[in-house]
Amino acid sequence: MTRYLLLKVGRALFVVWAAFTLTFVLLYVLPANPEDLMFDPSEINTVSDETKASVAAMYGFDKPVPLQYLDRLGHALTGDFGNSVHNGQRVSDAIGEVLPATIVLSVAALLLAVVIAFGIAVVATTTRVPFVRALVEALPPASVSVPVFLLGIVVIHVFSFRLGWFPSFGDAGWRGLVLPLVTLAIPVSGPIAQLLVRSFETELASPYVTTSTAKGATRGWIVVRDVARNASLPALTIAGVTFGHLIAGAVIIETIFSRTGLGRLTQVAINSKDVPLVQGVVVLVALTFAVINLVVDVVYPLLDPRLRAELRAKPADVTAPAVTAAPATADVEPAAPADLVRT
């Protein structure tokens, strides 16, 4: 178990380090004159060479690349990604300011998405009307095929302009949260629902369901009491993917609804080529992704006794359990939910 844990922690650390390195190469090394990025693109021609040279010296661009890299890595380890080019604010402060808004939005959207997904799975597996079943099962693929921005625009048109129930933009109070929340929850629910429908079906075919049926339990009772509990565990395995959907969705939704948040900050940072801010955001996202997957990898065996037994039985082969029973994170082939998982 300790080895399994260490291996997973090592992998998580590696992913974060590699994300830092990748963004360093992409943002600081590949551009021919990185100091040019430190100026407003519209004013770049009016900037004198001396100013450019002094800025290059300030950011350390005149030093050899390996030195720059070690310097930035050292600072990044303490959470210091430098200052925003745009307004000189510390990157960590700029991100910290907008993070709560995005966390509220995505956590709420995730909860709603899980509720929707369970609703779809329960209806799809309990109904005896083929037409209803086909209709409900078509919902998850549809929900990921409709572009998030279209969904947002339709939702704004109907609930804000036609019905006037909720404001169309801004982040004032809970009323402003409703529409972005619903818009974000719909695409996020798709892959979860698809996975749940599949795992509900597998569970329904298992012997304990036959036993319960024989003892006189109704289909609905079995689904709610037994199947839902056993079938929901695999949903954890796409936690990382779901997180990706939330982030990608937040970028577009915060733009459409003009909300402050990490997504909007990212877009603004990229538009204004605010290199330190972009790097900070990307590394933060990779870090969150790595932590989520690490937690899933560690928690999954705790929740599933079969896996726990396997871990104890074969301590030598540390990666095996993740492959065989828990298609957790790095070890799954994306064959199962691959049709929907990518953003």
């Binding site: 551009p31 549809a142 409709v146 625009i153 990212t266 996202v285 064959a335």
Partner: protein, 293 residues
């Protein structure tokens, strides 16, 4: 009856013909699949020969006709400048579809190659390559694509490259898994055993036998890429405004959602229809692939 004619001349042609009619019958039996093919083929036709479908110019508008709702003269209505939105949608198809195609090809070739190398050489190469690929999976592809396109410069071609690069990781994963499976199979061992050259083994056995899963993923990736390309276009990373790229068309109508919703909604519905259709077709491919194997 068919077994008797197998050796006769022209048997191959008959078999091909029969397979073709079988496919057509299968498609006709499933109305949603048929509809999906119609949507995709219409979109391709728009992209290839837009002038056949519309006479109206996608750039020139009649300001007297601005904000006309969808109707006979203008099936999709007109925008602020009185430009025919149907014509803009038809002419925009090529930008969106070309970008999608490039993205999928980039992801397929580069990802496939990386997966092949990792899976075939195994051991340390495999570990190094696949841990690097993990990083690609740790950053949401839209975010990665945004960063890449910002560094490359804004254009539809760069959107295509960025979306492709951002999807390399998932292709590498699937390819690697398939290659590992094929390399450990008896026929590859046998080929190695009789002294076949490594390159020959890879080209003749490993590659063809591991391609099917990757191609199935590529089919699915088409819909996902349409969505990614349109999203980046919507966010303004693509062609500049007069161009009729689909994501941009939706963005242009955003300010008028309250009064003139069709400007955004109709191009958006086109994107959704195309994505849904290509997903549907890709799933049917995968199903028939699973049945045969």
């Amino acid at each position: 009856m068919s077994t008797l004619t197998l050796t006769a001349p022209g048997a191959a042609a008959t078999a091909t013909l029969r397979r073709l009619t079988d496919t057509v019958r299968d498609i006709a039996r499933q109305p949603t699949l048929l509809l999906s093919w119609v949507v995709v083929l219409v979109a391709v036709a728009w992209a290839v020969v837009p002038d056949v479908f519309t006479d109206a110019s996608p750039y020139e508008g009649d300001s007297a006709l601005s904000f006309a709702p969808p109707g006979w003269g203008h099936p999709f209505g007109t925008d602020r400048l009185g430009r025919d939105l149907y014509s803009r949608a038809v002419h925009g198809a090529s930008a969106t579809l070309t970008a999608t195609l490039i993205a999928v090809l980039v992801a397929l070739t580069v990802g496939g190659l990386i997966g092949l190398v990792a899976g075939y050489f195994g051991r340390h190469v495999d570990t190094a390559v696949m841990r690097t690929v993990d990083v690609g999976l740790a950053i949401p592809s839209l975010l990665l694509a945004m960063v890449i396109v910002a560094m490359l410069g804004y254009s539809t071609r760069n959107i295509a490259l960025a979306v492709g690069i951002a999807s390399i990781a998932s292709f590498a994963r699937v390819m690697r898994a398939e290659v590992v499976r094929v390399v450990s199979s008896d026929y590859v061992e046998a080929a190695d055993g009789v002294g076949a050259r490594r390159a020959a083994v890879v080209l003749k056995h490993v590659l063809p036998n591991s391609m099917s899963s990757v191609l199935a993923l590529a089919a699915l990736e088409i819909g996902t890429s349409v969505l990614a390309v349109a999203s980046l276009g919507f966010l303004g990373y693509g062609a500049p405004p007069p161009e009729p790229e689909w994501g941009l068309l939706v963005a242009e109508g955003r300010d008028f959602v309250g009064q003139y919703p069709w400007i955004s909604v109709l191009p958006g519905v086109l994107i959704a229809a195309l994505v849904l259709s290509s997903h549907r077709i890709a799933t049917s491919f995968r199903r028939s692939h699973q049945e045969t194997s």
